[in-house]
């Protein structure tokens, strides 16, 4: 450990592993350390099942749960958008070759106590029972507009300026009612609250396009999920970093981040060893005095022995409960994965309900989501704070990621990573730096 590095990365959560991979690929000498014995930090998938039970202080699972080793349970539920930033990053870095994915089968939205399939194309819009007949036609026209919309071609904007006019104005242009706005903004554009209504419409149009482009990729739903759980993602990027020379040490406590002149980082100390470095990249848990609390997320892991009712027995599903449907300010997300993803023993399903905490009784806040799941065999509730760095790290050269938020996908994760990389290196990540000969070796 007593060596000099360009950068030391602390924590092997997904964000830190992507950053580590990017830095190594860019030719930096990287030391990547985790205080835990395992990869992934908060983004690990827990295996075996016994460990999950003991983590939450529950008595050991009985034999009906099958082999404990067959379970890989995520602590933070998320899906990948098939055409989203994380998939692009996986493909361009070659990390995709270490992973296998499955398409998520169903995408549903909650309305008036029931769930309905999220309509994404004109045909589905016309068949959907989310809207009345006239509203369906208006929604169809809206979808066609978004589909044909090209940011570079003002002719496709049809007398609407998406850069200055807000989303409310665009909804009004098509005469969409509040209900339709609700599922469009929350189930297609995947906003967690309604702030977007007052922002320029371009952002929302692009998000809806991401949803439909993602859907076009592999069908059924726009979401993907990795076999063996989300914990495979950080491991894949860690491998990328290692392949490009990154050094890995697990189970290594970090006792001090050593500062030099002007409060600039000069190294990291573990026991008597000090590794020198020019920069540190880490998650908030390694620097409690450099982050502030931003809010809380409640997440409930539910073990089920059946699929979610009314989803046509889908083996994987996402259900979005838009805030207004249940009188809240932020959406509730329900996700389901199953034994077919190698994350549970045969016949078992893992449901997850999560949202941003708004009251003193977070468990009660997720009740509308839990009620959709049917009988729950075992549930584990956790409420966790999420943090953001107090400064941009330019002075100290300590670059800190934000805690994983309540969003149901990885877009905000990637934004944070790209932003940190840019702050740390002074330039945007250049994908072309990845050796093309990696590709050749496959032939």
């Amino acid at each position: 450990m007593d060596e000099e590095y360009d950068a030391i990365v602390l924590g092997t959560g997904l964000k830190e592993c992507i950053i580590s991979g990017m830095l190594s690929v860019s030719g930096k000498k990287v030391l990547h350390v985790d205080r835990n014995k395992y990869y992934g930090g908060e983004s690990a998938s827990i295996c075996p099942l016994e460990e999950l039970f003991s983590k939450f202080g529950a008595p050991a699972p009985d034999e009906s749960y099958g082999r404990g080793r067959d379970w890989n349970v995520d602590l933070i539920p998320k899906f990948l958008m098939a055409n989203g930033s994380l998939v692009k990053l996986l493909i361009h870095t070659g990390v995709t070759r270490y992973l296998e994915f499955k398409s998520v089968e169903g995408s549903y939205v909650y309305k008036g106590g029931k769930i309905a399939k999220v309509p994404v194309d004109q045909k589905e819009a016309l068949a959907s029972d989310l809207m009345g007949m006239f509203e369906k036609r208006r929604f169809r026209n809206f979808l066609i507009y978004v589909q044909d919309f090209q940011q570079e071609d003002p002719k496709t904007w049809k007398d609407f300026d998406p850069n200055t006019q807000n989303m409310t104005a665009l909804y009004e242009k098509f005469g969409l009612d509040k209900n339709t706005q609700d599922f469009t903004g929350h189930a297609l554009a995947l906003y967690r609250d309604d702030d977007y209504l007052n922002r320029p419409a371009l952002e929302t149009i692009n998000r809806i396009k991401l949803y439909s482009d993602s859907l076009a990729k592999y069908g059924k739903s726009p979401y993907l999920y990795p076999m063996y759980g989300l914990g495979e993602l950080p491991q894949g990027f860690a491998r990328l970093s290692a392949i490009y020379g990154g050094t890995y040490m697990l189970d290594k406590p970090i006792d001090e981040i050593v500062l030099g002149e002007g409060g600039k980082v000069v190294g990291v100390r573990s026991g008597n060893e000090i590794a020198k470095c020019k920069q540190v990249y880490c998650d908030p848990t390694y620097v409690p005095d450099r982050v502030r609390k931003k809010g809380k997320v409640v997440r409930c892991i539910c073990l089920l022995d059946h699929p979610i009712p009314n989803t046509k027995d889908a083996l994987s599903t996402q259900i979005i409960i838009p805030q207004k449907q249940v009188g809240r300010n932020s959406d509730i997300y329900v996700s389901l994965v199953s034994y077919t993803h190698q994350v549970a023993a045969k016949g078992w399903f893992i449901g997850m309900v999560s949202t941003t905490v708004e009251t003193d009784n977070p468990e009660n806040e997720i009740k509308p989501g839990l009620d959709l799941l049917g009988a729950i065999r075992q549930k584990f509730v956790s409420v966790s704070d999420y943090y953001e760095p107090t400064d941009d790290g330019l002075e100290s050269q300590i670059f800190i990621s934000q805690t994983y938020d309540a969003t149901s996908h990885f877009e905000s994760t990637c934004m944070d990573v790209l932003d940190i990389f840019k702050r740390g290196t002074g330039e945007a990540f250049d994908i072309s730096k990845i050796k093309r000969d990696l590709e050749d070796e496959e032939q």
């Binding site: 990869y39 493909i91 296998e100 398409s103 990729k217 993907l224 491998r239």
Partner: protein
């Protein structure tokens, strides 16, 4: 992205079935893991091979009668150095070569630890081969052939002494593994991997995931 399934054009022009297997390399640093792979895949040997950088995923095929066995070979990328090999590494591996250096008794001890680790972590049906590498340095031998052979027999491992430098037994050990691997037919289920799909640039439209054999 290489095609993961499909009929291969064989040298004699007829079409046989292709089976693809994930093979992982294990062993102490500097026993010659990367050198063995480079000899097998590219026919090359470098006396001063650098620690593994930038080349940790290679493929090579071996032909057996009517079957083409395609190895997807994973190198440790140095993650073994501080015992920080990710579980992903073992995941779905159908074969493993555990390498030691015949001139270094410690590496043989480490190899035994890796075998135990595989028996604990990897699939129960994994085919494990033990390779006593650097056979060209037999005059500095510290691990006796018989000792390793006995250990391999007791644990149901394939065993050969190899030399990446002279190419001794390099192709043979991969061939021996290929012979021992079960060649499933695609219709009869999978060979350990998860039945998911790989993502690739330009993916479009729903395709059925291709995996091992056809």
């Amino acid at each position: 992205m290489a095609n993961r399934s499909g009929a291969a054009q064989r040298p004699n022009g007829t079409q046989g079935k292709i089976c693809q297997f994930k093979l992982v390399l294990l062993g102490e640093s500097a026993v010659g893991k990367s050198s063995l792979v480079l000899r097998f895949v590219k026919g090359q040997f470098h006396e001063y091979q650098e620690s593994t950088i930038g080349a940790a995923f290679l493929t090579q095929t071996v032909c057996l009668d009517d079957t083409t066995v395609k190895f997807e070979i994973w190198d440790t990328a140095g993650q073994e150095r501080y015992h920080s090999l990710a579980p992903m590494y073992y995941r779905g591996a159908q074969a493993a070569i555990v390498v030691y250096d015949i001139t270094n008794q410690d590496t043989f001890g480490r190899a035994k630890t890796w075998v135990k680790e595989l028996q604990r972590q990897a699939s129960p049906t994994i085919v494990i081969a033990l390779a006593g590498n650097k056979q060209d340095l037999a005059n500095k031998r510290m691990v006796e052939f018989e000792e390793a052979q006995t250990y391999a027999d007791e644990n149901g491992l394939l065993f050969m002494e190899t030399s990446a430098k002279t190419a001794l037994n390099v192709n043979d050990i991969f061939l021996a593994i290929a012979k021992k691997l079960p060649k499933y037919d695609q219709n009869q289920g999978q060979s350990g991997q998860g039945q998911g799909r790989r993502l690739a640039e330009g993916d479009q439209g729903a395709k059925t995931p291709g995996n091992c054999c056809k």
